[in-house]
Amino acid sequence: MSPNEPEELAPPLDGGDFETGKALREFFVGLLSDDNLVRYHRDRTGYIDEWVRNERAADLLKSETFVEIESHILAVTGSSRAKPLFVVSPPY
């Protein structure tokens, strides 16, 4: 499934796993370096296999399950920074 073929996803999980979330976070931060993002889009599976040692994280990345990926990443910091509800628009 590509990003342009949306599909209904599983509901949010109650809690994410720290180690999986840490691996996912490091993976996405790593995409910011050099030409990693280009390489990732050119060969997703190959890039994931090369960079992700955490098996659960690799499976999630290949399945593109956004809600579950996010739940694990949010388990990493435990800080308020991880909350997705920073509304910055109305009411006025």
Binding site: P6, R25, V29, P84
Partner: protein
């Protein structure tokens, strides 16, 4: 460098670019009206400007789309004689058009913040698309770590008056990570309440003219 992003990967990325970057998250106070948080953000941005420093404030998405403190900070800075510029980003609506394959040129597209939509009850062209932002917090004016949408049922009722309850709508959430699929839930309007996620946007497709 000040920033407000809703997840830790973006925050970490910003801090890698500038280790002295500071989050504006502390401006929010649980249970407080959000306007107070916006006012604090504006002051946090302007204080170093007034001290003669160059300031960059980064907000998630497009900094000028559904972001009050960015507009307010720029307006105040200019009023006080400081140069200020906004650079565009990619909004949730931009992602929605790409992910759902919707071109607003086809039938037109109306776009409202959900709470404002309920308050103002604007005339809606049902043969054009309709985007309602922030349906996951519709009717809530206060900051909360947990999603509160006290007017969601009222919103569904209004929409069911405009469209039929069987009209298929899309609950949409753009993926925040590259290469990952968005959250897309296609449901009949009458089933909308159960499908809404905290940061979702609603897309109501146009009625068929035929």
């Amino acid at each position: 460098m000040l920033y407000l992003v809703p997840e830790p990967v973006a925050a970490h990325g910003i801090e890698l670019l500038n280790p002295s970057a500071r989050s504006l998250e502390h401006c929010y106070v649980e249970g407080e009206h959000r306007r107070a948080a916006y006012a604090r953000m504006v002051e946090e941005i302007l204080a170093p400007v007034r001290a003669g420093r160059s300031v960059c404030a980064a907000f998630y998405g497009h900094p000028g789309v559904f972001v009050l403190p960015s507009h307010e900070a720029i307006s105040q800075a200019r009023t006080e004689g400081y140069p200020a510029t906004m650079l565009p980003g990619i909004s949730a609506e931009d992602c929605l058009f790409a992910d759902l394959g919707v071109d607003p040129a086809d039938a037109g597209c109306q776009s409202y913040e959900a709470t404002r939509f309920l308050e103002l009850r604007p005339a809606i062209e049902r043969y054009a698309g309709l985007v309602l932002w922030q349906i996951g917090v519709v009717g809530s004016a206060h900051h909360s770590a947990e999603a509160e949408a006290p007017k969601l049922d009222a919103l569904v009722s209004v929409l069911c008056e405009l469209y039929s309850g069987e009209h298929e709508v899309v609950v949409y959430e753009a993926a925040q990570y590259p290469g990952i699929a968005p959250l897309v839930r296609r449901v009949p309007l009458s089933d909308l309440s159960a499908a809404v996620t905290p940061v979702a946007t609603l897309y109501v497709p146009p009625l068929d003219r035929s």
